[in-house]
């Protein structure tokens, strides 16, 4: 038996910052100290605070070590694991106090969070089914199969108020209820792991950190709708998630938790993986099912809805990874427990992926209705470098921006919809005063232009024309007529596209137009980019009063654009100020970074 557990994060974020090396170093150092029978090293899924990775947590003290490198490991082993002295310099800054360290749960980042979907992420070893069972795993499946009828299961999910976490927010119980009565020789349960929004990574983290929760929930769904086969559609770009899912499915089959006659009840259910090649449109339900069938992933008109005619033409349901991760908990703790969290119409918790201009980049799970301010200022730790908060983009390329004046808005489906935003899959990209909103809209539109499958004209050509107008605006070549055309085109694409990709593609443009129209006008009328982002509309300048003529900028300039200002005079023996010449300048900003006197500014 072990007296201490060292949890090393093996999520994608920490893995890329070197956590596997840290884990190896721990195993080596622990062996060298002869502690291998006393201290267990466990590779877990994502802890959420990716900014501080690689993350290491030592239990039972719950000491949170941040940004651990392999060279730090020996000290932790010798001091903490052997002698019980916490290595304070490596403890996450926020958890350090004057007279010691706080536990993880008391830090700002974690104290406001409520972890349901993420409850096991960063806590259990996702490659060990016993650890999942040790935290109550597969009990919900056992309860459902031995004590409940399929209709009772559906009723619990309905009563819980759980809505789809993939973006649309459709009630999950209702989806199951609509599928249940449809008779067929085969029915399917599908899982949407085709997470494609730029900046969203909660589904990946759940699959990496707690894959069995998804398998268990899919089996429960199979029992509820009368299906014996599930498919998980996951992106091939998520190699760790794919690997852990394969291991999880194998272990569940070995234990007989997938397969024939589960718990001796006569219920059969199995799950297979299907890897997606990364097309954004395959996150749309009909396109996803077409792709599972082995065809080109394109959406088709609905009805018929998948509940009637889905995968292989059979009645099917499709739920998102995070939605599934909530289900075993709802079954075990009851619909009332889940419904007690959140707001009137948005129940439970939601995972958000915080990114962009924010101190604590990472995954957070909060009750629905938590004010945006809490997420940005408390959990996220605010905007770095003393910059001003400008807006948050939610829902990625299908969503919109929430400007600073709405920072107190409670984050749930209804409130965000009321200002033209969506909860979406939960990506939150924070922007500060240095972000140009026209440029942001252009960025997301470039994404949808790339990802449009090309099946319908409105989306294929409409988004391209929109991008052309936006490019004209950022180049300073647009007129106010173009802006009117852009608005018209937005509505056209929204109303005439076949699937949600096209229908929501104009959202980033519409919402930035709604809240930041002045920025568009500044680009068009004044030919200025207020944030100083759009290169065609800004110049670098030298303030003659501050320049001492040291030539440091001229030496660093790759375009030789900095020359002596012929018009300036020599004053009191001071060298001549230098000047950026507009024509040759490539606007790389190297001069501004070089200048020690703050003489170079953007205009």
């Amino acid at each position: 038996m072990y007296r201490s557990h060292v949890l090393v994060c093996g999520g994608t974020g920490c893995t890329s910052s070197g956590s596997l090396k840290v884990k190896e170093a721990f195993e080596k150092a622990i062996k060298a100290e002869g502690l291998e029978k006393e201290v267990a090293v466990v590779e877990t899924g994502c802890h959420g605070l990716c900014q501080m990775g690689p993350v290491v947590i030592v239990y039972p003290d719950a000491t949170f070590y941040a940004r651990v490198e392999a060279k730090d490991v020996e000290e932790i082993v010798k001091e903490h694991l052997l002698k019980g002295r916490i290595v304070k310099r490596l403890v996450y800054e926020e958890a350090q106090t004057e007279d010691g360290v706080k536990t993880l749960a008391d830090t700002n980042f974690y104290s406001k969070q409520v972890r349901v979907a993420l409850r096991n992420c960063g806590v259990i070893n996702p490659e060990d089914i016993d650890e999942y069972i040790g935290t109550g795993g597969y009990e919900a499946l056992g309860k459902v199969l031995t004590e409940m009828t399929p209709d009772e299961v559906i009723q619990v999910i309905l009563d819980s108020g759980l809505r789809g976490r993939g973006g649309a927010g459709f009630p999950t119980g209702l989806k199951w209820k609509l599928c249940r009565p449809n008779q067929a020789d085969k029915k399917y349960v599908c899982c949407n792991g085709d997470e494609g929004d730029p900046g969203a990574f909660m589904d990946r983290s759940v699959l990496e950190g707690d894959p069995h929760a998804v398998l268990e929930a899919m089996a429960i769904a199979g029992y509820a709708i009368g299906s014996d086969q599930g498919y998980i559609y996951v992106r091939a770009e998520y190699p760790i998630a794919v690997e852990r899912l394969k291991i999880a499915i194998k272990q569940a089959r070995e234990y007989g938790l997938l397969g024939k006659n589960i718990f001796g009840t006569g219920f059969n259910f199995d799950i297979d993986l299907r890897l997606g090649a990364g097309a954004f449109v395959c996150g749309e339900e009909t396109a996803l099912m077409t792709s599972i069938e082995g065809k080109r992933g394109e959406p088709r008109p609905r009805p018929p809805f998948p509940a009637v005619k889905g995968l292989f033409g059979k009645p099917s349901i499709l739920n998102n990874v995070e939605t599934y991760a909530n289900i075993p908990q709802i079954i075990l703790k009851g619909a009332e427990w889940f419904a007690s969290m959140g707001t009137e119409k948005s129940k439970g918790t939601k995972v958000f992926a915080l990114g962009g201009k924010i101190k604590n980049t990472g995954l957070v799970e909060i009750p629905m209705g938590t004010p945006l301010r809490t997420i940005i200022e408390n959990i996220g730790g605010g905007i770095p470098n003393g910059k001003k908060f400008k807006a948050v983009q939610t829902g990625g390329p299908s969503g919109g921006c929430i400007p600073a004046q709405y920072i107190d808005i409670p984050v749930d489906y209804e409130n965000l919809a009321s200002i033209g935003c969506i909860v979406g899959s939960g990506g939150m990209i924070v922007m500060d005063e240095d972000n140009c909103m026209v440029d942001i809209a252009k960025f997301f539109l470039e994404f949808t232009v790339d990802e449009s499958c090309g099946k319908c004209t409105a989306c294929r050509i409409g988004t391209r024309r929109m991008l052309e107008i936006l490019t004209k605006i950022t180049d300073g070549k647009a007129t106010m007529d173009d802006l009117t055309k852009l608005e018209e085109l937005c509505l056209y694409v929204k109303n005439n596209s076949l699937c949600a990709l096209g229908q929501t593609a104009p959202n980033p443009v519409l919402s930035t137009l709604k809240f930041f129209k002045d920025e568009y006008i500044a680009h068009i009328v004044d030919k200025k980019c207020p944030a100083g982002v759009c290169k065609a509309l800004m110049t670098y300048n030298i303030d003659p009063a501050k320049c001492i003529g040291c030539k440091a900028c001229a030496k660093g300039c790759p375009a030789n654009a900095i020359k002596v200002n012929a018009n300036s005079e020599v004053k009191e023996g001071k060298k001549l100020p230098y000047l950026v010449i507009g024509d040759e300048c490539v606007k790389c900003g190297a001069c501004q970074a070089t200048c020690k006197f703050g003489a170079i500014y953007k205009k």
């Binding site: 002698k83 002295r85 749960a105 069972i133 589960i262």
Partner: protein, 124 residues
């Protein structure tokens, strides 16, 4: 998996290991593990405490951790028991057998084992 009983058996086997990873308010049993403590034999005390707490399925209530030098090197191995809302109890010159007795009588039974405590040695 042919029955729920099999699932329950695995859960019970794993539960004590998993409970260690919770952040709840525990009774903390702290073993002094500085050089002085280790030299006096604190390792077997720590391991005995940790194993026994797990065997008895008490990891959801009691956390066994270490600390550095407490400052009373001649009385090592030292074990301190912090119960929420109660005064700290310090046991001195511990060994594995005494540790088992402390679990049985103090942590389970609720009575401080005075004869091993610092008070009994005349130190206050």
């Amino acid at each position: 998996m042919k029955s729920l009983a099999e699932l329950k058996a695995i859960k019970e086997k794993m539960q004590n290991q998993m409970n260690m990873r919770s952040d709840a308010d525990h009774t903390r049993v702290v073993v002094g593990m500085a050089t002085c403590g280790i030299a006096a034999g604190a390792r077997p005390v720590l391991n005995t405490l940790s194993d026994e707490i797990q065997k008895r399925g008490l990891t959801d209530k009691i956390a066994v951790t270490q600390t550095g030098c407490i400052g009373l090197c001649q009385f090592e191995p030292i074990v301190e028991v912090y119960e929420p809302g109660k005064e700290k109890v310090t046991y001195i010159k511990m060994d594995a057998e005494k540790a088992l007795e402390v679990i049985e009588r103090h942590l389970v039974g609720g009575h401080v084992v005075e004869k091993y405590s610092m008070g009994a040695s005349g130190l206050k």
